[in-house]
């Protein structure tokens, strides 16, 4: 049995092709159950996100299964044969495993290091296990991929820094206020950017959101969505007084917030620190405000610079991440190779031999007291018992080698007799994914 991967991603095909491949939410039968029944496919996992559609499978014969899956995908997307050859990639064995790990670790993403992909892989895996589509090969592979992703996140800075403008603002807020709990944010203007910023701030623990907009009804609408307070435009100075973080995004042509307005409120807010983020073009806040004490002002360009710089860091960290993926791939392949019949039988014999020898050594003192012949008798007896115990399992193993489920037997045997010393157990812990894109 071999592990294969067939699919396409944002690098391999245009969006319209991937759109045609993506299943609808209520599609029956689910693609997975169709794929599972394709010839030579024994285990299957189906991943579909906006940037990729991929099928991972445990196949009896890599060529047959690969072709069948490709044909199935081509039919789904109504592609010609030529298009199919052009847009789909087909990996086998180690290459397939490496690709899966790179995907889970977000190295193959459009924005590398973005955290959603791991959640999507986990969801897809949950679905696959619920449908009983995965088996020993894929379970292990996916658990390893989760671990690779987790290691990449903790051991490298691949996902550490914000690469979107709205999240860069949240990072800055944390560098000023530490904790965002108990802080108040004021949104001036109720556009899409403001909404995005509000969502990020809420997710990072901000306690209260005040909305001010020229059209009061729109402010009320947003306030309802974020459980915030809407204030009419005339209340702006009062709102500034209460706020710790101000995000402006109005379409106003002149400066809405001038140093004079801020100065009056600063005095009354007892010099509390104030972060101002101006994502409006043209700007809403007079740049001179940024020179005031305890006020930190960032405009769209500043945020974009931060995001760009962080993207550079991510690209640098990607090298470290690739190394981790390589290590995990190697581990998986070591485990995979141990699943062959002959080495397993050898390992099993060796293990039992060792146990027997250890026990003989342990009673060595007593054995030496026996006459020569008796001593030999004891050893012969012991050996024949061991041999007889092992005879049936080994014969059975050789017989199932021809059948489909051999890998399951071997894996179970290795587990029961603890023959997997070189291979650490897989972990599949669930993590809360921060989302910053």
């Amino acid at each position: 049995m071999e592990i294969i991967l067939v699919g396409t991603n944002h690098k391999a095909s245009p969006l319209e092709i991937r759109e045609r491949l993506t299943p609808r939410d209520d599609e029956t039968p689910h693609p997975l159950s169709v794929i599972r029944k394709l010839p030579s496919v024994q285990e299957a996992f189906f991943l579909s996100t906006c940037n990729r559609v991929e099928v991972l499978a445990g196949a009896k014969d890599a060529e047959t299964a690969g072709r069948a899956i490709k044909v199935y995908l081509m039919n789904r997307g109504k592609l010609t044969k030529g298009e199919g050859e052009k847009f789909f990639y087909h990996y086998k064995g180690e290459e397939a495993v490496r690709h899966l790990f790179r995907v889970a670790a977000s190295l193959d993403s459009l924005i590398i290091g973005e955290p959603q992909i791991l959640g999507q892989v986990k969801d897809a895996y949950r679905l696959a296990t619920e449908m009983g589509a995965t088996g020993i090969l894929l379970n292990r592979a996916l658990h390893f991929s989760f671990r690779a992703a987790k290691r990449v996140r903790t051991e490298t800075g691949l996902a550490a820094h914000a690469v979107s403008v709205s999240y860069a603002a949240v990072e800055l807020a944390k560098k000023i206020f530490g904790q965002l709990e108990k802080k108040t944010a004021l949104l001036i203007g109720a556009g899409e950017m403001a909404e995005l910023a509000a969502r990020h701030l809420m997710k990072n623990g901000i306690q209260r959101i005040i909305l001010v907009n020229r059209t009061f009804s729109r402010a009320q609408e947003l306030a309802a969505a974020f459980n915030g307070t809407a204030l009419p435009f005339s209340e702006l100075p009062a709102a500034i007084m209460e706020a710790d973080i101000i995000v402006t995004s109005t379409g106003a042509t002149g400066y809405l917030i001038t140093p004079e307005i801020v100065a009056t409120s600063l005095k009354r807010r007892r010099n509390r620190l104030l972060l101002m983020v101006d994502i409006a073009v043209p700007r809403d806040i007079d740049p001179r405000v940024g020179k005031m004490e305890n006020v930190y002002l960032f405009d769209m360009d500043d945020l974009q610079d931060i995001a760009d710089e962080n993207m550079k860091i991510r690209k640098g960290e990607a090298k470290k991440a690739e190394k981790i993926v390589e290590e995990e791939t190697l581990r998986y392949m070591t485990w995979f190779k141990s699943l062959e019949t002959v080495p397993t039988i050898i390992d099993l014999r060796e293990k039992v031999e060792t146990i027997m020898q250890e026990e003989l050594d342990r009673v060595g003192a007593w054995l030496r007291k026996l006459p020569e012949e008796d001593r030999e008798e004891v050893e012969i007896l012991l050996r024949s018992v061991v041999k007889k115990i092992l005879h049936d399992p080994i014969t059975a193993l050789k017989e199932v080698q021809m059948e489909e489920g051999a890998i399951g037997y071997i894996a179970l045997l290795r587990k029961l007799f603890k023959l997997n010393k070189t291979c650490p157990p897989a972990t599949g812990r669930k993590d809360g994914e921060p989302s910053d894109i």
Binding site: G157, H161, E171, L172, K174, K175, I176, F177, G178, Q179, R270, N271, R272, L273, G290, K291, E293, N294, Y296, F298, D302, D305, I306, E309, N310, I313
Partner: protein
């Protein structure tokens, strides 16, 4: 035994300093975590060392110059660790660990062995006076270091460049909080220390009021302290202004202290 402990503590302070430097070079907070724990270990070793000295000599080791240096290093490390476990601003330690290391290194040659203490100093009020005043000054140093890092971070955020340093240094709010907390506790310690000293002076010098350089200096320090605490708690200063003022006062005090030590004779000098 005590010499060995002292060397061990120095070694741990050195380890912490190196971890911090490594973390600064890499601009990653994670290595600073090890630095914190190494520093906690150094503090423990240092504490045990002081207990040993105290048992050896039978009095609190705050009398000779090396004693004072070591006690100061111990206080500032302890105060920092307290702050650290409250706020998790790991990187601030980068300014503390080297200070403690250098002070203890400086103190170490003369620190063990029996010292003849003038009888005038053999009073529990003296020990109280010296240790409380030193603790007050240690808190003040901590407030200054937090202030310096605050000003650096503030400047970085205003200039909007070098993201990696902004990310590496602690949040402004935490630094400001540490500055305030240290000022308040430092003020309390110094006030109590001065009161203890005054009582003692009344007893030993029988009430005469000496206009001594060191007295003036202490009062000066106390007044600076009082101004800062007042501006912070009553007027509500936060952020940049108290940070600047703390640093300014600190360097003023250091300068006058050195000047005073070298220029003026003092009744208040015993070694």
């Amino acid at each position: 035994m005590s010499v060995l402990l002292c060397r061990f503590a120095i070694l741990l302070y050195l380890g912490a300093t190196l971890f911090y430097i490594f973390s600064l070079l890499k601009r990653r907070v994670h290595p600073a975590k090890y630095a914190t724990w190494t520093m906690a270990a150094a503090f423990a070793a240092h504490s045990v060392f002081m207990v040993f000295i105290w048992k050896d000599r039978g009095y609190t080791p705050v009398i000779t110059i090396p004693d004072v240096l070591s006690f100061f290093a111990w206080s500032i490390t302890g105060a920092y660790l307290l702050v650290q476990f409250r706020t998790k601003t790991r990187v601030l330690g980068i300014s503390i660990a080297p200070v403690s290391l250098l002070l203890l290194l400086w103190a170490s040659p003369g620190i063990s062995g029996i010292v003849q203490v003038p009888p005038i100093l053999k009073s529990s009020l003296v020990y109280l006076h010296v240790s409380l005043s030193l603790m007050g000054e240690a808190f003040y140093t901590l407030a200054t270091l937090a202030g310096v890092v605050y000003l650096i971070q503030d400047g970085l955020l205003k200039r909007k460049t070098s993201q990696s340093y902004i990310r590496y240094l602690p949040p402004l709010k935490d630094l400001d909080g540490i500055n305030e907390w240290s000022l308040v506790w430092g003020f309390i310690c110094l006030t109590l220390g001065i009161i203890a000293g005054m009582f003692n002076a009344r007893v030993t010098w029988t009430g005469a009021w000496h206009l001594d350089a060191k007295f003036i200096w202490s009062w000066g320090a106390w007044v600076f302290f009082a101004i800062l605490v007042h501006q912070r708690l009553a007027i509500g200063w936060t952020g940049r202004r108290p940070a600047i003022l703390t640093c300014l006062f600190f360097f003023l005090l250091m300068g006058t202290f050195i000047l005073e030590l070298s220029l003026f004779p003092s009744l208040h000098r015993f070694f």
